[in-house]
């Protein structure tokens, strides 16, 4: 039995591969360059503000440190912080939102529901900035602030979805089949709710990457001399006309990170969309 036509390549593969590749390359560079690179990110290795050359690919900053080394030294700091800052709200928000969605307890529902709506009413960045300022600068504060603010956004999505999922036939079937409530919750309800929150997480990731850099730009992030993109941009912004490389390269790194996630998530959306096409 021969099949007519060759196998159709699945939609979205391009985006998925390119996106993952870009992020993967960035992470790999963030790993290898600090280990094997020519210069240390914090050593003053040459004159200040030297333009990009064959020895200092990205030039040097105003303290004479190699920008190339610094940009990649910051990879895990920025992306790691952003990642954690998305993971925690995702986990917490999904669980709280789901529990809320399936609970029939009116009082709990309206209390926490109002809390969620209240938090969501505030503009995200302003709230986070205020919290970080309150908690004191530092990566830990950033992650904490992000978690405290963002969980509510995930919880809202999770709650709406959980209400729908809870009414679906397979959940009822699970009940008829006598499955334990914990099993129903964790095996049937949460996976189907988290599909939505995970999708949101991807787009949120991009925003958070930028938010982390923005906070550092405002001076609320890492402590010097740790390299970090936002801080580097802040230092470089003053001298941008003199030494464009000090600010532009960290900026490009942020763009690269953001674009890689965006392309990946587009590809993933197309792939899932293909599956739903009937």
């Amino acid at each position: 039995m021969s099949k007519k036509g060759r196998k159709v390549r699945r939609e979205g593969t391009f985006g998925i591969i390119v996106g993952a590749g870009m992020m993967g390359a960035l992470l790999l560079a963030g790993l290898l360059i600090p280990l094997f690179g020519k210069y240390d990110a914090n050593e003053i290795s040459a004159e200040q503000l030297m333009s990009p050359s064959s020895t200092h690919y990205f030039g040097t900053d105003m303290l004479g440190r190699d920008v190339f080394a610094r940009v990649f030294d910051a990879v895990f700091v920025d992306i790691g912080t952003a990642f954690t800052g998305v993971l925690i709200p995702l986990a917490v928000g999904t669980i709280v939102g789901t529990l809320l969605g399936i609970s029939r307890n009116r009082r709990v529902n309206s209390f926490i529901g109002s809390l969620i709506d209240g938090i969501n009413a505030f503009p995200f960045l302003i709230f986070v900035i205020a919290l970080v300022a309150f908690l004191g600068a530092g990566l830990g504060s950033i992650i904490l602030a992000l978690s405290l603010v963002n969980w509510a956004r995930y919880a809202r999505i999770a709650r709406t979805r959980a209400v729908v999922v809870n009414q679906q036939g397979y959940v009822e079937a699970a009940r008829t089949l006598g499955y334990k409530p914990t099993r129903i919750l964790f095996r049937h309800i949460i996976p189907n709710v988290s599909s939505e929150t995970r999708a949101y997480a991807l787009s949120d990731f991009i925003i958070v990457i930028i938010a982390v850099a923005a906070l550092s730009f405002l001076g609320l992030g890492v402590n010097p001399p740790q390299a970090e993109w936002g801080a580097m941009i802040k230092d470089g912004a003053n001298i941008i006309t003199l030494a464009w490389w000090a600010a532009i390269f960290p900026g490009l790194a942020i763009c690269w990170a953001g674009i890689s996630v965006a392309v990946f998530s587009e590809g993933l959306t197309k792939r899932i969309g293909e599956g739903n096409q009937q």
């Binding site: 039995m1 021969s2 099949k3 007519k4 036509g5 159709v8 390549r9």
Partner: protein, 328 residues
Amino acid sequence: MSSDVKLLDINNVAIGIKRRKRETLVIVREANFDVNYGEMVGIVGESGSGKTMICRAIIGTLERRGASVIGGEVFFEGLDLRTINEAKWKTLRGKVIGYVPQSALAGPNPVLTIEKQLAEALSQVEGTGSMKNRSKELLDLVKIRRVDTVMKQYPYQLSGGMRQRVMIACALASKPKLLIADEPTTGLDVTVQSQIMELLREIRRDLGTAIILISHDLALVDEVCDKIVVMHAGATVEVGPTSSMATPRHPYTVALNSSRIDVAKPGGELLTIKGNPPSVGQWNPGCRFAERCDYVQQDCLVGEHPALSGNKGEHQSACLHSEKIGKI
């Protein structure tokens, strides 16, 4: 055969969806049937048989889904629908050709009152009298009582059957020559179903509208239609006048007939068709029903899909061995 212009003539039509670059997924191939003025034609087939796609071709909504007619001709009153542009479609769609979507899916616009929906449909057409009166006439046509109340209501306040009647009313606003009803009763109770069928019959009788009824239910179609078209895996495998179709000449129709609940004895033999319809894009050479066929022979598995025997208007079958049917 006759030189009279038919209302609709589907001639060896193939429909494909364009995937990336050179790949085209063929979803309909060798679709053949015609519809005369005032005729009620039933198109029967399982999901994926292509019955809905063919109707999209007639209504001109293929482009939207990235599909197009890639072979054969679609003649409407002698006009080849493949050649017309969007402007011309606008004069046909909703005016001369009406469409009623599946009852389970679409439906009236949830944010508009019934009155507004009907007005919208009527605004496309010339007519005498106020919009309100014309709307009431339409609701009368579909046998809705308490017209004044219903006019002010929103779709969610109506039952499934009522909503479907409203959709039919909108489609009839322009007194079309051809009405395509796509699974109009799926998901509705049998009582409502029989009412809607009765309604369609009356519409045909009183307005002379030709109706294409798409369904998966052979019993339903058998009862109301003049002609039955059976589709399987994108091809028309049998077509003919209902009376003649009582003795089917294609194994698929035979199987469909044997799986009808209304003629089965309680608790008795209920024949089912083995296997499942082949997935789109995974058609094997030869007859696409061969894998599921009880009468399959060697030559059914190779070459092109069998063509329909005879001529349009007769009882045609796309089976190479139709004479063997009933003699196993």
